[in-house]
């Protein structure tokens, strides 16, 4: 078989598995999930041995320390992989839920019912724990999964997938429910993205380059997890202490994530109160400061001028840009134009200003007096998430189990014909 035929074969098998998966009860699925979690524990040595091979190769290839860290598994990380599966087992099952139900004047009874999507492809980079996280979430929602991990983690991914398949199988997991593409040839990404007859959805988890490649290749829906250019806006009616605390939290608690802050907009009436205080606290934490002309004089000596590019840059590190605005309307325009429609925050004691901001900002999460870092499936109470969607279709913001489902209509009749008037 050619590589393309191999991928198509996996697709055909996944489609067949998806029909079986859609009929499993919640109890059956949870039993299988708990068996898979135990399988990770039982096969820990095998998985860690495989990981050691990947790590040795990674060192030879001189991967960065950050990449090597993402690639590394140890007993503790593996235990949390297994616990992650147990947590998915404990979550409510959205499948089978009646979303809507009504009767038409002609007597037709129409039920809208939540069902699995079918077959989901996941393409990801170096973290081997995605193999298990993604498979568990997709399985809980009755979907078949085809995984395509990064080449650096190939042995780790294979060992984890094998552990899930073997332990799941002994508890009733339908064959081919969870399949890992047994090749890291770049062509397999293309074959997967073009396989619209077997794949209902493709989710790239990784950097912008990976996502853009998938978007340009894919013949089926893609749910994208792009970057977050997130803002804090300090309204004229803001409590300055809180504004500073939320700036620090959003920028410093974890600068490398999508819901971290990149730009602070401050109303001119409170610029002299907020900017020096924020600048001092940020500088203390090693954050580089950039500002527009109006802000710069309040930011202290090490601050540098912000350029037009700064407003649309996701730094993902300890850099922040400041801009002074004349009104809430100017802040809203700036955020909708330069932001990435991810997570944006207003600090104010004025409810009318907060309401206007939350209504007019076009982002997945609009915050009032709370950190943008809370735009996250775990923090929303979804229990687990596949990512934070930057799309507006199907899933927007944190993607939990519910966002891995579709629906169908069940129409019950008593002989209604289109060609006849209602009985």
């Amino acid at each position: 078989m050619t590589l393309k035929e191999q991928v198509l074969h996996l697709g055909k098998q996944a489609r067949a598995a998806s029909y079986e998966l859609s009929q499993l009860t919640t109890e059956q699925k949870n039993t299988i999930l708990l068996a898979m979690a135990d399988g990770i524990d039982t096969q820990a040595t095998t998985i860690l041995d495989a990981n050691a091979i990947d790590l040795a190769a990674g060192r030879d290839k001189e991967l960065s320390p950050a990449m090597l860290d993402r690639l590394t598994l140890d007993k503790a990380r593996l235990a949390s992989v297994a616990d992650g599966i147990r947590q998915v087992a404990s979550l409510p099952d959205p499948i089978g839920e009646t979303l809507d139900h009504w009767t038409r004047p002609n007597g037709l009874d129409i039920e809208q019912r939540r069902v699995p999507i079918g077959v989901i492809g996941i393409i990801y980079e170096s973290r081997p724990n995605v193999t298990s996280d993604a498979a568990a979430l997709c399985f809980k929602t009755g979907n078949a999964t085809i995984l395509r991990g990064g080449s650096e983690a190939f042995h780790s991914n294979t060992a984890i997938a094998t552990a899930l398949q073997q332990s799941g199988s002994s508890a009733g997991l339908p064959d081919h429910s969870i399949q890992l593409i047994p090749s890291t040839d770049r062509e397999t990404v293309k074959h997967l993205a073009e396989m619209h007859q077997y794949l209902d959805l493709i989710i790239p988890r990784g950097g912008k380059g990976l996502i853009e490649t998938i978007v340009s290749l894919a013949r089926m829906p893609v749910i994208k997890h792009y970057d977050g250019i997130c803002h804090i806006y300090i309204d004229s009616a803001a409590a300055i202490d809180l504004a500073v605390a939320l700036t620090i939290d959003g920028k410093c608690q974890n600068p490398g994530v999508c819901n971290a802050l990149e730009t602070a907009l401050v109303h001119q009436d409170v610029a002299t109160a907020y900017l020096p205080a924020a600048a001092a606290a940020l500088r203390e934490r090693g954050v580089e400061l950039r500002g527009d002309n109006a802000s710069l004089s309040h930011l202290g000596e090490n601050a540098t001028p912000a350029t037009e590019d700064d407003w649309s840059t996701e730094y993902l590190e300890k850099i922040i840009s400041f801009k002074t605005v004349a009104s809430l309307a100017e802040a809203v325009s700036h955020i909708n134009e330069y932001g990435s429609h991810h997570s944006d925050l207003i600090v104010t004691t004025d409810e009318a200003a907060a309401t206007r901001f939350m209504n007019e900002i076009d982002s997945s999460g609009v915050f009032w007096n709370a950190s943008t870092r809370f735009n996250d499936g775990e923090e929303f109470g979804f229990g687990a998430e596949i990512g934070i969607s930057t799309d507006k279709l199907h899933a927007r913001g944190p993607m939990g189990l519910r966002e891995l489902t579709s629906y169908k209509y069940l129409i019950r009749g008593t002989g209604q014909l289109k060609s006849q008037p209602a009985k």
Copy 2:
């Protein structure tokens, strides 16, 4: 400006309009819709004159009678275009609805609220009424629309769009809410499909060729309206009269639509009762009959053998294929394999059989004792529809106003920080 720059300019304008549109009240939108309906009435002569130009050109190009008919507007059709807009005004507005609302243990108040998608591109073929239908539905849901109609209807589309813009504008329609691409150059389709920075969704309305072109070009979500290979399954416990009536209704009431029947599967225990009766009734209505070996002998003399291709063909005309199956399971397998996951029907008096069929068939509409022709937005009570989606993401089956919306999360806090434990 190049053609590409022109399309990008329309996109930029539409994005700006979308922010204004998202803030309109239901009352404002309905006032504008009623003004647009009146605008169609007022400018009827201008629109019909433009249509006459398209029709003359169509006759010169020797368009088929069916295409010319689709292209033709007259006073009655134009009145129904205006009434369609009035009907959209009368429908409930889904925007602003709270979809979910909960409080987290740390006090964060999370509201999931229905909002517009943003900017929607509609690419369509010869029917000029789509200009108005699509614009009205998208506008009611607070979306900006960029329309790209077929070249045959260019003058009609332009006249209709102008009438909508002018009459809408006088009632408060934000500029650039409804824009028609003023060119039918094929390149504009490509430019539109690649304009992901301004277009949130693209909906092709037309034949398979058009849809496939868009899918291969689009860098943003596409909602597809593909074909319907729809089935009726006559269970061993079926009432034969009803089975025949539903076969006739599904095949003959309007054979050229996506929810019409293409294949009838019959349980072997009732094949001798159903097949001759169905064949006689269909033949009387001029339907060509094809069958597998087991069915053929019961179908009468003019029936011909069905080939493998028949099972996956959308005839869209008076042809039907029959297959005899040994069990409900065989029917389900056949439908899931050869069907297009559109609309499928079981005829039975056995509730357990119906439940199994509806659970296991993976189609947008699964019917029990009612015609597949009811898989339609109007019949579902949606009031108006943009089409019947064959996708499983975001919208599946009839797409009404609700399916033209997205959501966002509004998170209200009291100073919650990620870096601090809950207060």
